[in-house]
């Protein structure tokens, strides 16, 4: 075969080649769109099971009832009972994680030597990877006894200990993401501030933090999402009895620990008890979504561009 003949033969297979390229691109596209299908499936499952649930229970009762006893003969379905547990534990966690995480971020970004930063950042990332069940063990068998020694009236299961340990768990997330945001602030802003005679702390609080606020807000929102969605620490250390309370010293069930409690039992598929966990899951998703939208608005409001 002469060279031109060989080339034209290769070019003749071009159609097959184009076809194969298209097929491969389509398969890659399918893989990427799996994420969209996942979201749609989550919404579909939660909504369809919840719709079945709300056929039995009016939405008004769901939102206003002050008892949550779905498995008793005298069944009540007041989701606020579980929401209160979720909110109280999250507030305790964030009251610890937000200030601590922010201070660590400012310290690492503006004060520490590069050596400390290089050492602390990977360590924080490692801590973020510890399984939450291990934190649950820690809350129940290490932190609760210490707290009981400080506050003798504290019961063995309580939201305080679970919330504090959740806070410790969230600190690395908040610190690491806030630090990334602060480091992304252009050096010229800091230099301008120092040139005006500001100290490090003044520069950090009055120049760097406002400039990085949209990134810091994103870190807070992720922290809130993690606190609201945290399950195992609460299932282990906060007790699982439903309790409408705003007092962190009491035991209480949360949305997530209720789902775990039901899943550990043996409820038949399609029963009302089975459907409650999807209604609870939908509530959880809506709370998370609310905070995410809030975060999105904050980010747009405070976005700085250079």
């Amino acid at each position: 075969m002469t060279l031109p003949a060989a080339i034209s033969k290769r070019l003749a297979t071009r159609r097959g080649r184009v076809l194969r390229e298209c097929a491969i691109e389509f398969m890659l596209f399918l893989a990427a769109s799996l994420s969209v299908f996942t979201t749609l499936a989550i919404v579909y499952i939660l909504v369809s099971e919840s719709v079945a649930f709300f056929r039995h229970v009016p939405v008004i009762d769901f939102l206003t009832d002050t008892q949550w006893t779905p498995l008793f003969d005298d069944a009540h379905f007041g989701i606020m009972v579980l929401v209160s547990g979720t909110l109280v534990s999250s507030i305790v966690a964030l009251a610890l994680a937000v200030p601590m995480g922010t201070i660590i971020a400012i310290y690492l970004s503006e004060f520490s030597t590069p050596g400390i930063r290089e050492f602390a950042k990977p360590l924080l990332e490692l801590l973020a990877g510890i399984p939450t069940i291990v934190y649950g063990y820690f809350a129940l068998l290490f932190v609760t006894p210490i707290l009981q020694w400080l506050i003798p009236s504290l019961p063995g299961f309580n939201l305080l200990s679970a919330g504090l340990v959740m806070g410790i768990m969230i600190v690395p997330t908040v610190a690491s993401l806030s630090e990334d945001a602060m480091r992304a602030v252009p050096a010229a802003l800091r230099e301008g501030s120092y040139a005006m005679g500001a100290t490090r702390l003044q520069t950090a609080l009055k120049v760097v933090t406002p400039a990085a606020f949209s990134g810091i807000a994103a870190a807070y929102i992720l922290g809130i999402s993690r606190a609201v969605g945290e399950t195992m620490i609460l299932a282990v250390a906060a007790g699982m009895q439903p309790n409408l309370t705003w007092n962190p010293m009491e035991p209480a069930a949360t949305i997530t620990s209720y789902i775990v409690q039901v899943a550990l039992g043996d409820l038949p598929h399609g029963s009302i008890g089975y459907q409650t966990i999807f209604a609870a899951g939908l509530t959880l998703m809506l709370i998370t979504l609310m905070f995410n939208i809030l975060g999105h608005m904050l980010r747009r409001r405070y976005r700085e561009s250079y």
């Binding site: 398969m27 310290y107 068998l141």
Partner: protein
């Protein structure tokens, strides 16, 4: 300038510097509180759990008697679930990452996919459990099996793998692609022979971080209804007679390490809590080792690659 004014300015400066020092100390204290708490957790578990760790602990099934209980079914279950997770999440995640970086046109569809991936990373893990309960367990009829659990965790870590793949691909200079195209390669040939091999270490880092997260996940697996007490093993994947391979284990009931630990933690007897400490210690060592490997890999890569 007169002397009192100078003194005043000096005192203002001194006060500012004092606050700097105060804040630096507060920063170090916060960092130390965070690190020391976790150190306390680790030491506490090690002190309580280490005496319990022996060969029998790994080869015994869970038992009513705490002293003879072990984690055999738990670690075997964890391993099998991780195999399913890795086998599904790695190809799909890498393919999605390649699509978004190399193929995706700039249009609304791509935007939707990207926003979706970001949002999925923030969905609480227990919601994945509910999705799996409704979809895999009942709609697809997979039951409370290794397969259902593996697929659930694969969905959970998919965003991690996709983001890692995209970052690895983005670090490859355009000249690599241009060189490949100049030699007549098609887009897929460029991806297959250049983009994928160069980005492989980065993808691997993401996969390890994702699996380290998956191995510690408890909530979604409890939600699909995994049992907490399993005293048998799934049928082995390798058989002595043809066809040698068996996939029955995919449909077997199972338990995993974190669920075993949860079970022991929630018992009132102190002897079982010692078992929980031992299981927790092994679990933490495993996740720390995996995360440490990933961080080390990333560090090495950053240093060794000069395009």
């Amino acid at each position: 300038m007169d002397a009192p004014r100078v003194r005043e300015i000096r005192s203002v400066i001194a006060r500012g510097k004092r606050w700097d020092v105060v804040f630096a100390i507060v920063g170090i204290v916060c960092l130390m509180i965070g690190l020391l708490t976790v150190a306390a957790l680790f030491v506490d578990m090690a002190v309580k759990g280490l005496p319990r760790i022996s060969l029998e602990f790994f080869t015994n099934f869970p038992s009513r008697r705490a002293e003879s209980a072990g984690i055999l079914s738990a670690w075997v279950g964890s391993t099998l679930v991780m195999v399913v997770t890795a086998v599904t999440a790695v190809p799909i995640g890498a393919a999605a990452g390649v699509y978004l970086e190399e193929y995706a046109p700039r249009n609304w569809m791509t935007d939707v996919i990207e926003i979706n991936i970001t949002n999925l990373a923030g969905v609480p893990s227990i919601v994945y459990g509910l999705l799996a309960l409704g979809l895999f367990v009942y709609q697809f009829g997979l039951g409370q099996s290794v397969l259902a659990a593996g697929l659930t965790l694969a969905l959970l870590i998919l965003p991690v793998v996709i983001v890692a793949t995209r970052e690895a691909i983005r670090a490859i200079p355009a000249a690599m692609r241009e060189g490949s195209y100049a030699l007549g390669a098609t887009q897929w040939q460029t991806v297959r022979y250049h983009i994928l091999p160069y980005s492989m270490p980065g993808i691997l880092t993401g996969v390890i971080i994702g699996l380290a997260r998956a191995i510690g996940e408890t909530a979604p697996i409890i939600t699909i209804g995994a049992l907490t007490f399993i005293a048998f093993l799934p049928s082995p994947p390798f058989q002595p007679e043809p066809p040698f391979l068996s996939f029955e284990w995919l449909f077997a009931p199972f338990t995993v390490m974190p669920i075993q630990m949860f079970n022991w933690t929630s018992r009132p007897e102190a002897a079982f809590q010692v078992n929980a400490a031992a299981a927790g210690f092994i679990l933490v060592l495993m996740t720390l080792a995996m995360n440490g490997l990933a961080i080390w890999l990333r560090y090495r890569l950053r240093r060794n690659i000069n395009w």
